[in-house]
């Protein structure tokens, strides 16, 4: 019997290819988006972990000290005096290079003789691929992966504005892919290339005995920290966690849209086969068998769709990974991904998600099929009888779910996952309102369209309520997509507007000077005092300010320390969030002058620091307890910043270096003229001299690049939803083919028929928009005030741009109308008799 039943399924599906395609498309697209996002983010993480594992090897601990670094001598003390033989000094830095795929070249300096306790980067004897003598003695000698250069090649790069030439003398041992865009140099060479003479970036240790940690600790100079290697790697990966969670949440929305689509398809197929199921029941097939039959169909469709989705997702991932990597490089740390890693875990998870989502979506239609009474066999009805849409408590449940979701999302004790969970509940709750909205739109539509286009309009409006179940689901799917478009659009626009505002008051100097160096890395502009005063005395230069930015090792993540030379004079460049009130702000600046610090909003937000609290920072002068005078607005980084007076910094860090210059020009001076003179003075240093407007534009370019992946996902979600609407309209119209044929026979013109079908689609999109706009607004609000705040610690000014709303409405309308074209054409071309005979 079951074989016969299966044949009926196969027959049905093959005779309705459109439905099959829609169902497969729904599953496939949802899975593809989810897989692509997961693979892309995993690949970026994996690339980081691989290169980290490769470099850290079996080392269990690291001694680190941020930008300031560690003295060479510390290594000798740990290795020789403390006898920690499993120890290796590392000098690490970044350069900008055209030859690197990511544009950023990592330079790792090692002592090849100290590496033998871990990994394979070390060498004591030399090989053809690792000629020790050349490696140790040739100027600029590096080992490079094949992609960067062959032995004998010279790779040019720029570090802090200096051109450096790397002579490729060998190949990085082992699998080079873990160290893409990375060259390995002898530690002496690396110190020369990076101008880090006498300083180590870190010391890697393998501490086998537990008491060693304390003995190491006792040796450390102030400013240095002993950290567990694994924890440190995790922290680095964690920096991107919020970013990646946001991406994943969006990809899940695509799956949700896909689920609506599957539900729709399955429900429709069940309705179409009511007679068949009734007949089967009449000949003795049990309810259970019918339930199983429909679920088996769902699994079959889900499996094929999932496989298609996996294939599509893998293809999509290679595009997404570039966007993800770019963003991570822009905002977090240097990572180079050579290829998408097809993690079996991710693929299996996505496959399970696809099939499970299909199955869950099919449960209601399957139960409906199983519920068909045997006697229905003799009744002819193709009407949608899904009773749930008429349930009186539905709208109430939706409102309750939405409110509960909102409460969960905004609950103070909640984390980012809770926020996304709440957001999802809001979306699902809103979906439950779809029947109510559709009914309202149908009611209004009947009156309005009836007045405009007459009978076809009224019929179109009524048709919505007749097939309310499926129409509601399609409307919910489209509304969800449109809400995402609205929500994300509003969030991004708000963010961008906030950023532009911030850049506007922060960048008040006319020219900014920094060395050409690797993107996202703190740089050093090496100037002599003579050069500095020469610049200050240039005609056209009214005032010169300098800034020093360094990174210090704090737990759980590094902290940036900013020391502007004229923070107090340039105070219009900084906006205080806390304290508020003019007098309090005045006091805060006074205390800043007196040696207290200002912290950035992300630091205050993410580490729970408020005015009057103390932040602890390691420094060469020991652990510093710095009192917080205020919290200032900064969108420069989602990691924390601590700003202090330059004089305070200079005395605590004993660091006279600067990272960049800001020049205020005199009236009448031309930026180009001053920039030219600047470059002359600074030769041969390669510097970037930009005006404030250029810097503003560059910042926005990075911002837009960061959100490009968001836009891509938004498009994909919309695509899935459009597919859903397309399917719903199509299914409905196909189902009504017979009805339309009758209408034709009774005198409806093709034009009237097209108007009828088009009006139906139009009303569906109107219902979607009506539902989507408020939901989208709520999503935007949650993303701005909860998710962004929890992810990055930023306060954004919410801006609702009409353009975004219009765009969202247009998307809904176009999707629905496009979906109506085929049924309209088909209904008007097909000879009416043929449609009737089909029955």
């Amino acid at each position: 019997m079951s074989r016969t039943l299966n044949r009926t399924s196969a027959r049905y599906l093959t005779r309705h290819p459109w439905q099959l395609v829609l169902a497969l498309g729904g599953v496939g697209l949802g899975v593809a988006v989810a897989v692509a996002v997961a693979l892309a983010t995993e690949s970026a993480q994996r690339a980081f972990k691989l290169s980290n594992d490769r470099l850290v090897g079996t080392a269990t601990h690291q001694v680190v000290a941020g930008t300031a670094g560690l003295p060479d001598e510390l290594y000798r003390r740990l290795r020789v005096d403390l006898g920690i033989r499993k120890s290796a000094p590392i000098v690490e830095g970044f350069a900008r290079s055209e030859d690197a795929a990511s544009g950023t070249l990592r330079i790792i300096g090692i002592d090849p003789l100290a590496e033998s306790f871990r990994g394979d980067l070390g060498m004591v004897l030399g090989t053809d691929a690792y000629p020790l003598d050349a490696f140790l003695t040739e100027p600029g000698a590096v080992l490079a992966p094949e992609a960067l250069g062959s032995v004998g090649d010279v790779v040019e790069a720029t570090v802090d504005g200096r051109l450096i030439r790397l002579a490729v003398v060998g190949r990085v041992p082992g699998d080079g892919s873990a160290l893409a865009d990375t060259v390995v140099a002898d530690i002496a060479t690396a110190q020369e290339l990076l101008e880090l003479s006498g300083r180590l970036s870190r010391i890697d240790l393998q501490l086998d005995a537990t008491d060693l940690g304390d003995r190491v600790q006792a040796e450390l100079p102030s400013g240095a920290r002993l950290v567990e290697a694994a924890a440190r790697a995790d922290t680095t990966v964690q920096m991107t966690a919020a970013f990646e969670l946001n991406l994943r949440a969006m990809s899940l929305l695509a799956v949700l849209c896909g689920m609506f689509l599957i539900y729709n398809t399955m429900a429709f197929s069940v309705v179409q086969r009511r007679e068949l199921f009734g007949a089967l029941r009449a000949v003795g097939v049990t309810r259970r068998e019918i339930l199983r039959l429909v679920l088996a169909e769902a699994v079959a469709v889900g499996t094929v769709g999932t496989l298609l989705g996996l294939a599509g997702g893998i293809a999509l991932a290679s595009r997404l990974v570039r966007l993800v990597t770019r963003t991570i490089n822009d905002l977090y740390f240097a990572v180079a991904v050579e290829q998408v890693a097809l993690e079996p875990r991710v693929l299996a998870g996505a496959a399970a998600l696809g099939i499970l989502a299909t199955l869950v979506s099919a449960i209601a239609p399957a139960r409906q099929a199983a519920g068909v009474a045997p006697r229905v066999a003799m009744m002819r009805s193709a009407e949608d009888d899904s009773g749930w849409v008429n349930h009186p408590g539905l709208a109430g449940a939706g409102v309750l779910a939405g409110l509960a979701g909102f409460a969960l999302a905004t609950w103070r004790g909640g984390d980012l996952v809770a926020a996304f969970g709440g957001l999802l509940m809001v979306v699902l709750g809103a979906s439950l309102l779809a029947p109510t909205v559709v009914r309202a739109v149908a009611k209004g539509g009947a009156a309005l369209l009836g007045a405009i286009v007459g009978t076809p309009g009224r019929m179109a409006a009524r048709a919505l309520t007749v097939g309310l179940g499926r129409v509601s689901v399609a409307v919910a799917a489209l509304a969800l997509a449109v809400a995402v478009v609205v929500g994300v659009g509003v969030m991004v626009t708000s963010f961008r507007t906030t950023l532009i505002d911030w850049l506007g008051y922060t960048l008040q100097a006319d020219l900014y000077v920094s060395p050409v160096s690797a993107r996202g890395q703190s740089a050093t502009l090496r100037l002599s005092n003579e050069q500095l005063s020469e610049i200050a005395n240039l005609t056209g230069v009214d005032r010169l300010a300098t800034i020093r930015t360094i990174s210090v090792e704090t737990s759980p993540e590094p902290t940036a320390v900013l020391a502007p030379s004229h923070a107090v004079e340039d105070r219009e460049s900084y906006r205080l969030l806390e304290p508020s009130g003019n007098q309090a702000m005045e006091d805060a600046w006074m205390r800043f002058e007196g040696g207290e610090v200002l912290v950035s909003e992300p630091l205050a937000e993410r580490r729970g620091v408020a005015v009057g609290d103390v932040v602890t920072l390691p420094s060469p002068s020991g652990a510093l307890e710095l009192r917080v005078a205020g919290v200032y607005v900064s969108y420069a980084s989602d990691r924390g910043e601590v700003m202090m007076r330059r004089s305070v910094y200079a005395s605590l860090w004993r660091d006279p270096l600067i990272s960049g210059l800001a020049l205020h020009l005199a009236d009448g001076a031309t930026r180009d003229g001053v920039a030219r003179q600047l470059r002359e003075i600074l030769q041969p240093l390669q510097v970037v001299v930009v005006s404030n407007s250029e810097l503003r534009a560059q910042s926005l370019v990075i911002f837009d690049r960061t959100f490009r992946i968001t836009a891509v996902l938004q498009t994909l979600v919309t695509l899935v939803a459009a597919f859903g609407v397309f399917g719903a309209v199509l299914a409905q119209q196909l189902e009504r083919a017979r009805e339309y044929a009758l209408l034709r026979l009774t005198g409806f013109t093709p034009g009237q028929l097209r108007a009828l079908i088009g009006a139906q689609a139009g009303l569906m999109s109107v219902a979607s928009i009506a539902l989507a706009l408020p939901v989208g607004w709520v999503l935007a609000w949650l993303m701005i005030h909860v998710i962004n705040k929890r992810s990055f610690g930023w306060t954004l000014q919410m801006t609702v741009p009409p353009g975004v709303l219009g765009q969202a409405a247009a998307v809904a309308l176009v999707a629905a109308l496009l979906a109506a074209i085929y049924p309209a054409v088909r209904a008007t071309i097909a000879p009416p008799g043929a449609a009737l005979r089909e029955e």
């Binding site: 290594y75 004897l125 030399g126 000629p131 003598d133 100027p139 002496a188 060479t189 003479s197």
Partner: protein, 377 residues
């Protein structure tokens, strides 16, 4: 003696070793470091004036140099140990140094340290590498002081030619700390200290030995800590010599005989199985008279073999004859496995000797070094 050659030849040999063999294939390329570029280094062309303690110190003008202690130790309850402690200096190509800091090194250093526990039949070899920078490794240029991390040999008074030397080394469960008191002044090997290694001028080293040191101190092995005393032998050699083709390896002997005389012999084996004409030795009579030995003045006859678990066959007993001194000795290892199974692979072990000297029976002890046996035929 030829321990310097040990490095270079082993390196060259290892390059040809079977891929399955445990000798690291990268060993070959030390030849490039050690033997590749001699530009910028002085060469041992003619005899020189030796002076001490200056010549106990480093000679950085030459590419390769080593300080080589071997010895026998004994403790209470028939405890018996052998040790080797060697620091090798290998000059890097003398290029214009970068402006960079303390990590720029002129030399790479390799340390070999081994202790044999003869009562228990154990042998522990260790190696270390470091660059001569930041105080990680180095040597005085004026007196007896050389170190690689915390492995060190340093004179109690570096300004004294015959000062006692303190040796300290540890690795894992094994440690050695000895005070070594010289009992015989330096013996210049070869021709007044110029030891010719090949036909080419400059294929030579400066080479002296201090064949008798009285040792006392402590040794730590996994079985425990022991107070020990005994004797030691020091070889010092420096050169920029480039190896000549056709040399397969060598067998080197240093023996301290009961009557107070000392014997050093080395036979360089050629690829064709013959003994190279630049093989040589020195016999130091009990009264201190030094008698240089040429290839034809002695013979070394292997009497047995010992095979490693991976199939390398080393000779394991010998008959030595020095007819001119009336000396005939049967030499046997204290234990068979004294193989230095490290980045460079060779056998360097404590041996005992019995035989006759001028018709009188004589005993002795010493060390044997066997190189070039890891090479497949």
């Amino acid at each position: 003696m030829t321990r310097g050659l040990v490095l270079a030849v082993l390196a060259a040999l290892a390059g040809c070793s079977a891929p399955s063999g445990p000798v690291p294939s990268q060993a070959a390329d030390l030849a490039e470091v050690l033997g590749g570029e001699s530009d910028g280094f002085a060469r041992a062309l003619e005899p020189r004036e030796f002076g001490f303690p200056r010549d106990h110190g480093s000679h950085p003008d030459y590419r390769t140099e080593w300080w080589y202690f071997t010895g026998h130790l004994s403790g209470a309850d028939d405890e018996a140990f052998g040790f080797q402690f060697t620091l090798f200096r290998s000059g890097l190509p003398r290029r214009t140094p970068g402006q960079g800091g303390g990590w720029r090194a002129r030399d790479l250093w390799m340390g070999h340290f081994a202790v044999g526990d003869f009562r228990r039949g154990d042998f522990w070899p260790f190696e270390r590498f470091a660059r001569g920078a930041l105080g990680l490794a180095g040597a005085s240029e004026t007196g007896f002081d050389a170190w690689l991390e915390n492995w060190r040999i340093v004179a109690e008074d570096t300004e004294q030619a015959d000062s006692p030397v303190v040796l300290s080394a540890e690795a894992g469960d094994v440690a050695l700390r000895l005070r070594l008191v010289p009992e015989r002044p330096p013996v210049l090997q070869g021709v007044n200290g110029l030891s010719q290694k090949g036909a080419e001028p400059g294929s030579a080293s400066y080479y002296y030995s201090m064949p008798r040191w009285r040792a006392a101190g402590s040794v730590r092995v996994p079985a425990g800590d022991f107070e020990v005393s005994g004797t030691a032998w020091l070889d010092r050699e420096w050169s920029t010599s480039v190896l000549e083709p056709g040399q397969a390896g060598w067998d080197w002997f240093s023996l301290q005989l009961d009557d107070g005389s000392d014997l050093m012999l080395y036979a360089m084996r050629r690829d064709d199985g013959t003994t190279d004409e630049y093989s040589s030795g020195t016999y130091v009579a009990a009264d201190g008279t030094v008698q240089p030995l040429q290839r034809d003045d002695f013979s070394i006859e292997p009497r047995g073999t010992w095979t490693t678990d991976d199939g390398i066959e080393y000779p394991a007993a010998w008959t030595l004859r020095v007819p001119g001194a009336g000396l005939e000795l049967e030499v046997a290892p204290r234990i068979p496995n004294q193989e230095m199974r490290l980045s460079f692979r060779y056998w360097e072990g404590a041996v005992v000797a019995t035989g006759s000297l001028g018709g009188m029976s004589v005993g002795g002890r010493g060390f044997v070094e066997l190189t070039g046996y890891g090479r497949p035929d």
